[in-house]
């Protein structure tokens, strides 16, 4: 009895407040209630908008506390189609295993101007080196240098510092040279979903037949 009284005295408005708030709400908020179905698309949009990194379907699902993965996936697809259909200035792309909102390419000069930022540049040696690392990874520096015919240490270092290339281990060769590979930042930078989205090498078939294991290239005599 006295317990009740204590509470009542301290909280004159208790009955009012209690009536207004259903108590089962507590559980929902502790575990963050998932968005109502009618708000799902908007919540997905907001979450992607708020992140400067690509978010995996699973990351979105966890952020929204939605149990069913299919719900988030179809919301993402709907959102992507929605942007496309209304010719928005933003598009939803899958990069590096995640979803990301980006400005459409056509709007690039206006965005750059608004940002007052010079467009990002990569030197030609950097792109060449990047291509070799991307297609030959994991690859050592000396392999890259053999392929390009020039020293590549500086270029590789700058690619590493830009987060496009990373070290992925060492070979067992003498001196245990480092192995390089591309990063998630590489995929994001070039708008690639994963490495299999890399354009296929045009001369691939020719090169395969050039492979010494398959016999020497028939060279016509001069």
């Amino acid at each position: 009895m006295s317990d009740e009284v204590d509470n009542l005295i301290v909280l004159p408005g208790v009955s009012v407040t209690l009536a207004e708030e259903p108590t089962d709400e507590v559980e929902e908020i502790d575990g963050l209630a998932p968005p109502d179905p009618e708000f799902l698309l908007a919540a997905v949009e907001a979450v992607l908008f708020g992140s400067d990194q690509p978010l995996s379907t699973d990351a979105v699902r966890v952020a929204l506390n939605v149990e069913l993965e299919g719900a988030v996936e179809s919301a993402l697809e709907m959102l992507r189609a929605d942007y496309q259909e209304r010719g928005a200035g933003i598009e939803l792309v899958e990069v590096g295993g995640g979803w990301q909102m980006r400005t459409v390419q056509r709007a690039a000069p206006y965005v750059a101007r608004a940002l007052g930022a010079k467009p990002v540049r990569l030197s030609r040696p950097a792109v060449e080196t990047l291509a070799i690392v991307a297609y030959r990874q994991p690859v050592t520096r000396s392999e890259v240098e053999d392929l390009r015919g020039v020293e590549c240490g500086g270029v590789l270092r700058s690619l590493v510092s830009r987060g496009l290339v990373g070290t992925v281990g060492r070979t067992d060769d003498p001196g245990r040279p480092l192995l390089y590979g591309t990063t998630a930042g590489f995929l994001s930078f070039f708008g690639l979903g994963d490495l299999s989205d890399l354009p296929t090498l045009r001369d691939l078939r020719e090169m395969q037949s050039d492979d010494p294991a398959e016999g020497p290239v028939p060279l016509p005599e001069d």
Binding site: E20, T103, M207, L219
Partner: protein
């Protein structure tokens, strides 16, 4: 030696990443099939280009000179009469074949890099949202204090700031139940509903508030007062239906002795 004059018509010449790059340029320029690499011709053109670079005082990197040596070696090798026996022995290491393969492979990656250059680059062709600090209002609250901390804060605040008597624990027995009823009825004289909270706030001590509240419940049960709530969310108001002088307090519970 050319001098640099801004007004002078400029001489444009390709920049080469390395000897392979230069060789590919010459092959393409002269419409040569890379597989059918005419060593004598390509060596001549390559050396001529190095001369041009030298005449323009452009530093020639060591790799270019190494390639020049390789080309000259290949050329002299071709001038020698072929010995079929030596040829078969050296087939695996044919330096010319090796050069052709390097050129073709290098070209593959050059083309791949050109395709990469055409893709929408982040920060050149497409832009993402800039990284933003989360608005503090949107960040979750740290769960580093509990309801007891809240309670302590409440009492600390009351004691620090209340202008009236601070909240003390007062012995319940010091107060008269009947006196509380009389006080309540006096407060409610006039018949106008008064918010319950405001009545209770006039009371300094917590124990006295308990007693007053119990008194209110009792006289409400006896029909001297009514509790009103206008709507679902409205505060509770108390109104008396009897004047304080007319109230019959004889049926109030007897007070226990001290």
């Amino acid at each position: 030696m050319l001098a640099f004059h801004p007004q002078q018509p400029v001489v444009r010449t390709p920049v080469f990443e390395g000897p392979l790059d230069l060789l590919l340029y010459l092959i393409r320029r002269d419409g040569i099939d890379v597989r059918n690499l005419p060593i004598a011709h390509i060596t001549r053109e390559y050396l001529a280009y190095l001369d041009l670079m030298e005449s323009m005082d452009l530093g020639i990197a060591g790799e270019f000179l190494v390639m020049a040596a390789t080309l000259c070696q290949l050329k002299s090798r071709e001038l020698l009469p072929r010995d079929p026996d030596v040829e078969s022995e050296e087939e695996e290491e044919d330096p010319r074949e090796r050069l052709v393969r390097r050129l073709i492979e290098y070209q593959r990656y050059k083309e791949a890099s050109e395709e990469l250059s055409l893709r929408p680059w982040l920060g050149r062709d497409v832009y993402v949202r800039p990284a933003a600090e989360v608005d503090p209002a949107d960040r979750p609250l740290a769960r580093d204090f509990d309801a007891f901390a809240l309670l302590e804060s409440f009492y600390a605040t009351l004691e620090a700031h209340a202008e009236g008597e601070p909240v003390h624990e007062v012995e319940l027995e010091e107060y008269s139940f009947t006196e509380r009823v009389q006080w309540l009825l006096r407060e409610l004289d006039g018949g106008e509903p008064v918010p319950l909270m405001r009545i209770l706030e006039k009371i300094g001590g917590r124990a006295q508030r308990v007693l007053t509240f119990l008194a209110l419940l009792e006289i409400t049960r006896m029909g001297m007062t009514v509790l009103e709530q206008e709507g679902h969310l409205a505060p509770i108001a108390v109104a008396s239906v009897v004047a304080s002088e007319d109230a019959d307090l004889s049926s109030l519970p007897r007070e226990e002795a001290g």
